[in-house]
Subunit: 217 residues, 6 copies
């Protein structure tokens, strides 16, 4: 059955969206050539988003790494916990900006705008999170995440105490740090491999909901 | 007459757009309290753009600095020369991102999108100009501008030769360097004074022209 | 049967080796409390190494992250490819030293000494890989890995060309970069969580093989 | 009359002092070729100082930039306010040293010695202002100015509070920051254009006033 | 008599241990060619250690520098004072690691292990002294030493007060700083001259005393 | 006799010049309390220079360190060799400026002006040696010295080849590096101990010889 479904979906393949850009050292593979489980995951994403984010196709050339990467991603970004989904995306955007990762800043900037229902927040956090109009708790969260991203060897008890003072317990601290650490990996993969964000991400979530719903009427 | 005009315009003042944000150490002044020439310039901008960019109101509290700042700005950004208007904005966005200047990245990102007729270019240059799909000439231009922004004392003949190899003569080199230098000033003013970009800038120029004109039909 | 085996092994648990150190924000869990698959993997490692490296117990508190982490690790460090096992460990040691990661420098330093059959190589690479007596190919490999670790956004065609000049094709470049990227993650986890290397690692592989075999006679 | 005066002064032109130095990409223009207002300003400076500081001739090749630059300079350096003239020059010397700007360190070091009536202060502030024998108020002023020069994006309420604790209100903070910002511009212009300080500046103000007046007797 | 002794020792010269490594710009001199006092000192060291540390032979090519270097070394490392011998070696290892000095990290790491009777301490301090299980007093000592090594111009009263709070008076502060300063010199000499640590150092002191004495029984 | 001489000189002691400055953690000792050899050296310097440079008095509190320091200094700065005396002072000034060492920049700046018979050279090299009008050979010398000062671990064959291309052999390279290394020590001692330059140094050598001799007529 999985196979039948895949075949049906493959008919849609022309819609798979691949960002143009610099000549590609690691060209995106054809969907048909991928292992079933990977193709399935990609088709699910396409169904849900309307396009395939390039990170899926870029990593698919290495199935074992693909599976581990997204298992890790799901473990950190989808689980229940002390951090809201928007807060996790704030961490991704702030730390990816420190690493000048075009893919992650643009793609996760889009997701952050949607979760936070705020058209401005992603550009603010990417450029200088200290100027974003955030409550003290989220500012402390990003201070900690950015220290993990930039100088993790210097993290000490004082950093953990600052987090606790804003209501983050040890497990929440792990969540923050682990997301910053995972995107330290992710940013480097995107940077060295020339991964370009899909065009769709740039504009996504920029229309404030009120305006969008008004437009939808 | 100037006064009469000003009065008429002041009726529009409720439309003057002020970004919300962190509590303001340097509150924006009332239009009515400003010297005539400064109010005139602000009203012209408002007429043209539909809103008053915050930089005008923020600097207006210091009339002599306001006049000098915009005279310098005009001298570098409006004059004829070897650089296109879009290229000048590229320099602004690239160097302002190095200085983490939220105001300039967002405001000049908008202007760059419009001049370049490219909805993606500003986010690409702000995050990592090396990944933007630019011709070699513009890449060399931004390499030089970023060196002026970050380590101008190390600029030497080799840097000038690299520019020349891409067709920039000494006067064009001055143009590039002077824009980077002027925004070294501008970024620092915006950063220390807590200048926030107007909301309008974030979305401006993000709809590709073809799509926009189609929408306009 | 898996359960029976686990029970038998648990009798050995007092031998599980836990590094002493700073008071622990994230105490190592009891083997008995862990999911079966994780306990199994840990027991296999203990059987093979004679002790349980702390990274297994530290991460075990988060089963989903544990599984993804080691799946990624296996995908990069155990697969066939252009890089020898010793070369992969060189990358780990060089980049982990840049991040001042005590756990990874000490644990992977041990593994490197064993694979390379060289008692000195790990300290040399950790302190300054440029002074280690390495062939030009491995020096180029570490230059690339360290650039991925420290300034991945600046990696460009020239870096890839340098690798190619030493016989590394695009897939080998991916291997190098992906290992550096994975340990960017790993170093940050170890650093923020206070992961201490097991005592066993410090001395492992320091007796040159000839001497060791002589001692064994 | 302005013209007549200019002609008379031009007879003095051989005395216009131009620093020797590296071959010049941007040669200093002839006074006679300059617009009247710019030539007038230069002649006034020459009359007052006995020579023409190179910054005037270097920038004169670009009249619009010249006018804006000196209008900004006058607005910040000549106006009344909370900072003494010597304090403004301290800011210039400290921040220009951070940018390794030979022209500004030497030229404004001279002016600082004269205003402060202290033959040692400029070298102390240029080399390490923390070692200069300054009162706490001026030390705080330079800490703030240097943060504007080097990491303006990180300036926050705490920095402003430190200033206030030493008696600087918001307007004085603006003065300090704006001078640091203006010389961020000025240093970059001098650095990229190869502007060399006039020889006169090096020795100026180095004879302590008492000694100088004794010599004058 | 000195000569006779030297001759006798020279018979042992084949045992003089010279680290292999990169082709040497500054080859180690023959003992026989050295001035008497220098040869004597080297023979004494060889007698005591069983081999000649390369630093002695490397510097011996410049007798006046040799004599001054070791006079300074003795003045700082052998004298009585507030710091234990192990603490002095901690300072050497921590600051030499900041300078990526292979010779000093390996050679003084060995000495530190022996003085401290701790097989792990040197690798911990070299990789990240903040993670080493040190009492607060020694942590403060290393914080100060590392600031002297990296940014001595920023040392101020607060740094001295922190030391005093841990029981270090002004003379002890001088001891700490002078050792860090002397190894700033030593590290640079070793780095530029390609000085390689003798193989003996790598393993020295790695067998914990209890185990070693057990083995000796 | 030495004693008699000392007594005679001590009568001059009121002339011993001590720089004012920040409250002193390490007060300068009385000449009479110093060991004979150290007092003798200080008196010789005073006789020759007309004052006692503070470095002599500051270090005299630690006789063994004093003797080693000046033996090293003499070995590097006074010996014959490929570098002129002025070139050695250029290295001192350039590297001491990188370390923001007020004492060494001011004191050795004075000596450099005198040896080079150039009133401008010291300020140029201290602020930005790349802008000083130096021949290519001296520029290469300073590039090497500054790399030793700042990132000695990265020095490699290419750096040595660049020196050779300008006529510096291996021994000259050692001279350059050893001076940079010695002042790495010296700068740190001066910085942490609050050593202030004597007032005499600031103005010394600033009158060009021709002018001075004219004045002397």
């Amino acid at each position: 059955m999985a196979k039948a479904k895949a075949v049906r979906k493959e008919a849609k393949q022309p819609k798979v969206d691949v960002a143009p850009g610099t000549p590609d050292r690691y060209p995106l593979p054809e969907l048909a050539t991928l292992p079933d489980d990977i193709r399935e995951r990609i088709l699910v994403v396409q169904e849900k988003s309307g396009f395939v984010p390039n990170v899926f196709l870029k990593l698919a050339r290495r199935p074992a790494e693909f599976r581990a990467f997204f298992a890790y991603y799901d473990a950190l970004m989808l689980k229940e916990g002390a951090l809201s989904k928007a807060e996790r995306e704030m961490i991704v955007v702030a730390t990816s900006a420190l690493n000048n990762c075009l893919y992650c800043v643009v793609a996760h900037g889009a997701i952050l705008r949607i979760y936070q229902k705020d058209a401005l927040i992603a550009d603010q956090i990417a450029t200088n999170y200290r100027k974003a109009p955030l409550p003290a708790r989220q500012r402390a969260m990003l201070d900690f995440a950015c220290k993990v991203a930039q100088s993790s060897a210097a993290i000490d008890d004082e950093d953990h105490s600052l987090l606790q003072a804003h209501g983050f317990d040890s497990e929440a601290a792990w969540d923050i740090a682990a997301i910053a650490a995972f995107f330290a990996l992710s940013n480097r993969i995107a940077n060295f491999s020339g991964m370009m964000p899909n065009e769709e991400f740039y504009a996504m979530g920029r229309t404030p909901p009120s305006q969008a719903s008004r437009a939808a009427r």
